[in-house]
């Protein structure tokens, strides 16, 4: 049987844009163009490389999965054009405002429905930046987590990889099925080829709603969330500082400033 890989991806507001909150204090997804979270491209890339090296005779099949509004299909198309085989889009009006705990619940249900041997995630989204979803998924699915990997490989039903932690570098090993997350150090993501972009248009995108996943509307959404944003204030711009041109004593001037601020 082929290796079934599910890659979880997120459609996020462009991090280089001027991001804001909507009136209900959820992320404003209207005013800034959305795209596939850059950190999830690394997940798609590693899934493609694992699939290329899959040792079973049947190879591997990559399903890319997202939870999000209609426009989130763009993220799925991008992943399909990079080379994923099919996509699953969980879309339901009741999902608006769902927090990390709720999203992990929805993703876990969708992953189980799809069927999987390996779940691959990015290290965090570029909008929420929590980085907790892979661990939550492993907890909910009841499978090992091998997370924050900068190198990953799958062989004989075992996933191994290198985790560059805060204090040490660790080599990890876990039996499939498992959840992995990969960092931006795992290897540059490929650009979709023209052929890939054309092929992606014909690849299947399955749409699921909450009913399909046996999830009640009150378990998700803004009202069902386990957390509440009560206030969001734009950070005041930093007041303009002093900028001087170096005329040969720039280093000394800077030292004078630092001494004045009691840093020296």
């Amino acid at each position: 049987m082929s290796l079934r890989i599910v890659v979880c991806v997120k459609y996020v507001p462009d991090a280089t844009g001027d991001r804001h909150f909507a009136e209900d204090l959820t992320t404003d997804r209207e005013s800034v163009d959305g795209l596939l979270s850059e950190l999830d491209e690394y997940a798609v890339e590693q899934a493609l490389q694992i699939a290329d090296e899959a040792d079973s005779e049947d190879g591997a099949e990559i399903t890319v999965l997202t939870v999000g509004p209609e426009d989130a299909k763009d993220a799925l198309r991008k992943a399909l054009s990079m080379g994923a085989d099919k996509a699953v889009h969980v879309e339901d009006d009741d999902l608006h405002g769902t927090d990390a705990l709720g999203t992990s619940h929805v993703l876990a249900k969708a992953i189980e429905k799809t069927g999987y041997d390996l779940v691959v995630c990015g290290m965090a989204s570029t909008d929420g930046t929590m980085g907790v979803l892979p661990a939550m998924l492993a907890e909910r699915l009841g499978v090992p987590q091998a997370t924050l990997l900068s190198e990953v490989s799958v062989e004989n039903g075992t996933v191994t990889g290198r985790r560059d932690g805060d204090a040490a570098t660790e080599q990890l090993s876990a039996q499939l099925p498992a959840v992995v997350s990969v960092t931006d150090q795992s290897g540059e993501a490929r650009y979709p080829s023209f052929k890939g972009i054309m092929a992606a248009k014909k690849k299947p995108v399955e749409s699921l709603d909450l009913d399909d996943l046996d999830i009640d509307a009150d378990e998700v959404g803004l009202d069902g969330a386990w957390t509440k944003v009560e206030d969001a204030a734009e950070r005041p711009p930093r007041s303009a500082g002093t900028v001087v041109k170096d005329e040969g004593d720039g280093g000394k001037q800077l030292a004078e400033y630092l001494a004045g601020q009691k840093f020296i």
């Binding site: 991090a15 001027d18 909150f21 204090l25 950190l39 927090d99 705990l101 992990s104 570029t126 930046t129 929590m130 980085g131 907790v132 979803l133 939550m136 492993a138 907890e139 909910r140 499978v143 090992p144 987590q145 091998a146 924050l148 191994t160 985790r163 805060d166 204090a167 080599q171 090993s173 876990a174 931006d184 150090q185 969330a225 386990w226 957390t227 509440k228 944003v229 009560e230 206030d231 969001a232 204030a233 734009e234 950070r235 930093r238 500082g241 900028v243 001087v244 041109k245 170096d246 040969g248 004593d249 720039g250 280093g251 001037q253 800077l254 030292a255 001494a259 601020q261 840093f263 020296i264």
Partner: protein, 320 residues
């Protein structure tokens, strides 16, 4: 008074600074009860007591080092069951966030990550966060279950407050999942003798303008003169000039030191996301149009290869 669980980050019993900050913040919410996993709990308990821990629940087992994350979740959950705390606080390290995430799922509680401040309210702790590349400051609350909150390093200054720090053994039973991911080898990061990047009071970072790994000793020299940690921009890391563990920015570390010195860094959004909550920012860049100058308190438009050595010498002279 309600008790607040504080997960202890330590190296062989030496408590790391972010945990002392956590204890300081925890005291706003209740009586801190520390959870120490691994060796040398007696040594740690002294420090934890000095910073306000009324009790220190300790457990040691080979599983904590031999398997990833889950054994620690089992232990923290055992502490949660034993204490029934008003909140659970965990340092915002990569591992801390994963431990907190799994605990939140298990106990059916909301989770807030990367808080930079905490305050008590009638409806439970209110967490301040800096989001969207630090463009916004939010206040959030956990609305279901016992708040699980991870707090960033440098969120407050650790303050002592003597408490009993009574050492108690925590009994932990490991579940089936605990041995799911084996740590087959571990190589501790080589100590540079410099402060930890996310904990440092001063950070000196180098970017594209440093123009090669061979020139990074110049940045290190300034850092050492100032007693600072060394950071690097993504451009410098991607070019292979400095290790990724030093990357400051959206996909690297977020730092919030008293002083941030950006050398040869243009200040793209990717980098700003990781440093713009620094208290004081200074920059050296040859391009007067570089966006980093929009953030600085003091900036020098000039060649870093001339300005940095002069600055380093001057700092050394003034420090005597």
């Amino acid at each position: 008074m309600a008790e607040v669980l504080v997960y202890v980050d330590h190296v062989d019993g030496a408590v790391r600074k972010p945990t002392l900050e956590l204890l300081t913040l925890a005291r706003k919410l209740g009586d801190p009860v520390a959870v120490h996993l691994g060796p040398n709990a007696e040594e740690a308990a002294k420090t934890l007591g000095e910073y306000g821990a009324t009790r220190v629940l300790a457990a040691d087992a080979a599983e904590f080092a031999d398997y990833l994350v889950v054994p620690k979740v089992d232990a923290l959950q055992a502490a949660y069951d034993a204490v029934s705390p008003a909140a659970v606080l965990v340092p915002s390290s990569a591992e801390g966030k994963e431990i907190a995430a799994r605990l939140a799922v298990r106990i059916g509680s909301g989770i807030i990550t990367d808080a930079v401040d905490l305050d008590a309210s009638d409806e439970g702790p209110v967490a301040t966060q800096s989001v969207f590349a630090a463009a916004f400051t939010t206040k959030s609350r956990v609305s279901k279950g016992t708040p699980v909150i991870t707090v960033k390093p440098n969120s407050t200054s650790p303050e002592t407050a003597s408490a009993a720090g009574a050492l108690e053994e925590l009994s932990v039973g490991f579940g089936e999942a605990a041995t799911g991911t084996k740590v087959t080898s571990r190589t501790p990061r080589e100590s540079t003798g410099r402060p930890e990047l996310t904990e440092a009071a001063i950070v000196v970072s180098g970017g594209r303008g440093v123009n090669g790994a061979d020139n990074f000793p110049l940045i290190e020299g300034l850092a050492d003169a100032l007693g600072a940690a060394v950071g690097a921009s993504r451009a410098a890391v991607d070019a292979g000039w400095y290790p990724h563990s030093h990357q400051v920015g959206q996909t690297g570390k977020t730092v919030s030191p008293q002083l941030y010195v950006a050398t040869g860094i243009s200040g793209a959004i990717q980098h700003r996301a990781g440093m713009q909550t620094s208290k004081t920012i200074v920059a050296i860049n040859k391009d007067s149009e570089a966006p980093i100058f929009d953030l600085v308190d003091y900036g020098i438009v000039g060649d870093l290869f001339e300005v940095v050595p002069q600055l380093t010498e001057e700092v050394k002279t003034r420090k005597g």
